[in-house]
Structure formats: structure tokens, C-alpha cells
Symmetry: C2
Subunit: 325 residues, 2 copies
């Protein structure tokens, strides 16, 4: 089969590519061709034996989505997005990339469906940002999407389009609402949510980190490894089991910052914890107060999606995947 | 103030216009100018003493929304839409009118807001079609929107845009999810929901009507008079009380077809009821099975929106407004 990844140069895109081409992969997909797309050139996956295309495209530009669809990929992962902070700062860019770019893709597929019966599996990464405060401690699968950011609004709109285009038979869509991914590898991130990763990743390698919120703040996490697992499961699941509600809140770990810190202590000791400096930032505290504390994720769990069970497992996944290569 | 009604030639638009210009009106709005817009010419409201414009425009056409916004109406009612059945038959037209047309309007206001601080009140008519089966007997205010039609999808997307544009301060938006309006005046309607009105309106004037669904079917109703009341209340309410969740399920009457028929019997006797012929239609039965049986409408009720309390009141409102002029 031919697999296309839109947003292949991002953190999740790179890890997904690696998981797809690993010879030991257990995803069961027979991949003959792989098309990697992003606005910057995706890294070269060197071990892949099949037909590989790397394409620098902005799918929101006229005709670009159509050119991808002309290649008739059997499976499309649509991971590309302007992140939350940028979509909030730049209203036009956020709507153009996150909404119009996605709609261009969906409509290009629809045209191909109408002309030739083309009907790919489409895995779309949504976000828990489709939910906005006030929120219950555990958000159920029937809870409404009332986002408090333009990013969350754009994701919620794409979920609605995904369901309608799937209902119409234009493609076989599934949306997965990712928890906040933690521990994000790489440099400390300026995103408002970056500290959740910083306070684990930096102390693990002997570096200091700043904690800008109180320790009782509770949020919803999964590892990047789990995110890749969600995507692979969404790519292979029998979608007849899903029904018309095509977007699912993924499982994860509901943890307070204090839970994070105590898990770090168990894994790396007091010395690591001592590297965390508490420096409250009212702007970040205000933002985080509207974020989701947890989900029941009953539908996704029943459909076989799995994540870590506690924050210590999330830290150990990070150590195995990033620090013990 | 200057009031604009988009969709002024429709049934609700005409009734709203009438309510706005009545000298006895209790809505408390001082209306100096009224702009009536639709794709066909809205009827002339003869008693209006202020400045009146009637404009034939399709707001989804390039530049049309901008031309409306240049007139800087203080209050905009956006009622225009392609109805459910047509949006389902004609995918492109439904998205163009119901989604892109609304977005053109919102963006034209945003541009005016950015350039001059213009910030009108915007009352948007959404629909209970944003909900799709399976549904609880009484849908709560936190229940998610999972529409099963393209029309419902388009309305749900516009609700999300309305909330985001309001949050950003581009306008002061409020969305009202109308129940199925009953009794619709005029000729028998070919819409799937038309029979709910036909089986009351026709027997009241001695004409036969066809009932295509079983009597135990339950649905959610309000009179056209209540719809106008919702719109006027939405136009004048202190929106600071609403919070960021800007779309509200309106109050109404949860009634079975049997409740409808027994109310008709109390108002008009057995002879009227005998004019109803039961002729089950599997296609209509299937469609109606996914419709909302009822709402708790707690938020809207707390905010002062009111509707009829039982179906007999709905019939009496029809008789007063349509048969005793």
C-alpha cells in the first residue's frame, strides 16, 4: 500500500515514519510506497526499501492537495497544523492552515471519490484543545466541544467535516484527540504547555528547569510513543466499529504536576527534583486553568487504543526512546 | 439603531420584521433604520416609519457581505440558510451558503472591527440538527454536537466560528438553536419535518393531512411566535451573562405525535382529528428516528428565553396568529 504523511517533519511525524518503516513493525501494513509531506523537508528515513517521496508542500495553497490526491495514497495521516500559540497570535494563518488546508485536502479527496471512487483511510490528529473550561474532572465521550482558542476551534471544525465527509462516503476518516504529549524530546519549548515536558526532560540530563504553575495543576498526558501507537491503531482498526462519531478522545494519564515530580523522584532521585525551580507565571497559570484535567476515554479504550497507566511509565518511555538509543 | 435581517424573506424573517416594526412592540429597540436582505426580495413592511432598505443579495458571493457591513448595522439577525433537505441533496450549495456565506459575513465584520472598532450584536439561528442519534430523552446543555446531516454539520461549524469570533471581540454573537417550528403557516411543505405542521394546520381548516410516522414518535417544538420571541430576546439580552459558550438550545415542548393529535382534538374536536390519515413512510420514519426528542434547555431558560408549555398552546398560538387576523 501507499502511505502519505502530511506533517512528516514534525516530532510525531518523524516518529510515525520510523515506526512505519521498521522491519520489526507489528502494525501489519504492507508499505510499498511512502510519501512524506511538510512545509519543510522531512528527514530521510534511510532504512526504507520501498518507493519514497519527500515533498515540500503547503496543502492550503491552491492545487497542492489535488497533486497529493493524484498519487492516490491508500492511507493518509494528516498531522499538519499551526500550533496553539501561533494560531492564537496569527488569526489568518491559523484558519488558513488548520481549517482551509484541511478542507482543501478533504475536498480534493471528495473530487477524486466522485470521479473515480477513490476512498482512502484518513487519520486526522485532533486535540483535547477542542474542550474549554469549565470542564469536569473526567471528560466523558458525550461532552461538548467548546474550545477557548482559535486552534481548538479549528480542530473542532475539522472533526465535524471529517464526520460529514466520512458519512457521505468520500473517505474513511478517524479523528484522534491527542493528550498533551509528554515528555517531548528536544530543546525546551516556548509553548505554554512546554513546561510539563521541561521539568522532566531537563532534570533527567542534569539541567535546571522552571515550573511556572502550582503543583496541584492537573492535566492529561501520553507519551510520544503512545501517540504513534494511536496513529497506527487508527490506521488499521475496523472503522465499522466506530459508528458515525468519528473523533475519539484518546486514553492517557491524568496527573498533577506533583504526580509528575514524585514520579521523577522515583526514577531519578532527589537530585533531579532539586533542579526544578518554582517560578509562578500568572499568564501561564491563567491559560492552564482552562485545560482538561482528564478524560474517561471509554470509547477509545473499548476500541483498543492504549496508553501509559501512570506518569512513571511516561518517564520510562522517554528514557528508553530518547536517552538509551 | 440600524437593524439588518439576513434571510428576511423567509417565514421567520417576515414575522421578525413585523414584530420589530410594530408600534406596540415591547422589545425596547429604537429602530431608525431597517435593512432587509434575502436572495429574493423581502416583502414590504408598510407601516415602518424609519429608513428602509430591501436588498436582494447572496452573502456568499464575493464582496456582498462587505457591502452590508459598510452600512454598519448595530444589530444583525442572520437567519439565512439552505434547508436541511436541500443541503443534503446539493453538497456544494449547502456548504457554500450555510458555511462559506456565514464565514464571509463574520470575516467582513472582523475586517471592519480591525479597521474601525465596529462590533455589532449578531444573532445567529442555529438548529437542533447539530445533534445526531443516539440521543438521550432530554438533551442537556453539555451534550456534544454530532450531526448526521450536512446541514447540521454546517450549523455546528458556524456555532464554533461564532464563539471564536465573539471571544476575539470581533462581534457580540449569540446562537440560538431553534426547535422544529410548528405550526408552520402556508402550504403543506415537502420537507421531511413538514408533516408535524401539516397534521395540525390542514385539519384546522377542514383539509386532510397525511401522517407518515407512528404516533409514538417524540420531537421538540416551538411556535413561530416563540421563535420571534427568542430572536428579540437574543437581540436585547445582556450578553455578559452568557459566557464563552455562545450557542443555546432554546426551550420548547417535547411532544409525541399522539400528544399533538390529542391537543388538536381538545382544540378542534374529533372531526378535525378524523382528517388525519396514517400512511407510514419508511424513509421518513428512518430519518425522524435520529431527531432530538427533547432538551432540558436549562441555560436558555435561566437566561429568560421562554416558549409554550404544551402542544395545545402551540396550536392556540397558530390560531391567533394565522386564523384570526
Amino acid at each position: 500500500m501507499h502511505v502519505a504523511i502530511i506533517g512528516a517533519a514534525g516530532m510525531v511525524g518523524v516518529k510515525l515514519t520510523q515506526a512505519l518503516i521498521e522491519p520489526s513493525a507489528r502494525h501489519g501494513l504492507e508499505i510499498e510506497a511512502l510519501t512524506l509531506i511538510d512545509v519543510v523537508e522531512p528527514p530521510l528515513p534511510e532504512t526504507f526499501q520501498g518507493e519514497l517521496r519527500r515533498e515540500v508542500r503547503d496543502l492550503s495553497a491552491a492545487g497542492e492537495a489535488q497533486r497529493l490526491v493524484e498519487q492516490r495514497p491508500d492511507l493518509i495521516f494528516h498531522l499538519a497544523a499551526i500550533v496553539s500559540g501561533e494560531a492564537e497570535r496569527d488569526f489568518d494563518k491559523g484558519y488558513r492552515i488548520n481549517l482551509d488546508g484541511t478542507r482543501e485536502l478533504f475536498d480534493a479527496i471528495r473530487q477524486a471519490n466522485l470521479s473515480s471512487g477513490y476512498c482512502p483511510r484518513l487519520v486526522f490528529t485532533s486535540s483535547i484543545a477542542v474542550f474549554g473550561a469549565p470542564l469536569p474532572e473526567r471528560i466523558g465521550d458525550d461532552f461538548h466541544s467548546t474550545p477557548l482558542t482559535s486552534y481548538g476551534t479549528q480542530k473542532a471544525i475539522c472533526e465535524l467535516l471529517l464526520a460529514d465527509y466520512t458519512r457521505r462516503g468520500f473517505f474513511d476518516g478517524i479523528g484522534i484527540r491527542l493528550p498533551t504529549l509528554c515528555v517531548r524530546p528536544g530543546k525546551p519549548n516556548l509553548a505554554a504547555s512546554g513546561f510539563f515536558s521541561n521539568i522532566i526532560r531537563e532534570p533527567l540530563v542534569g539541567q535546571p528547569a522552571i515550573l511556572p504553575v502550582p503543583r496541584e495543576v492537573r492535566h492529561w498526558f501520553a507519551s510520544p510513543r503512545s501517540a504513534v501507537g494511536f496513529l497506527l491503531h487508527a490506521a488499521t482498526i475496523d472503522t465499522a466499529l466506530i459508528g458515525p462519531r468519528r473523533s475519539l478522545s484518546m486514553p492517557g494519564v491524568s496527573a498533577t504536576v506533583d504526580d509528575q515530580i514524585e514520579a521523577l523522584r522515583r526514577v531519578a532521585g532527589d537530585a533531579a527534583v532539586a533542579l526544578i525551580e518554582e517560578r509562578p507565571d500568572p499568564a501561564i497559570i491563567a491559560m492552564v486553568s482552562g485545560w482538561a484535567p482528564g478524560f474517561d476515554a471509554e470509547r477509545a479504550t473499548a476500541l483498543g487504543f492504549t496508553a501509559e497507566r501512570d506518569f512513571e511509565q511516561i518517564i520510562r518511555a522517554h528514557i528508553e526512546d530518547e536517552l538509551e538509543p
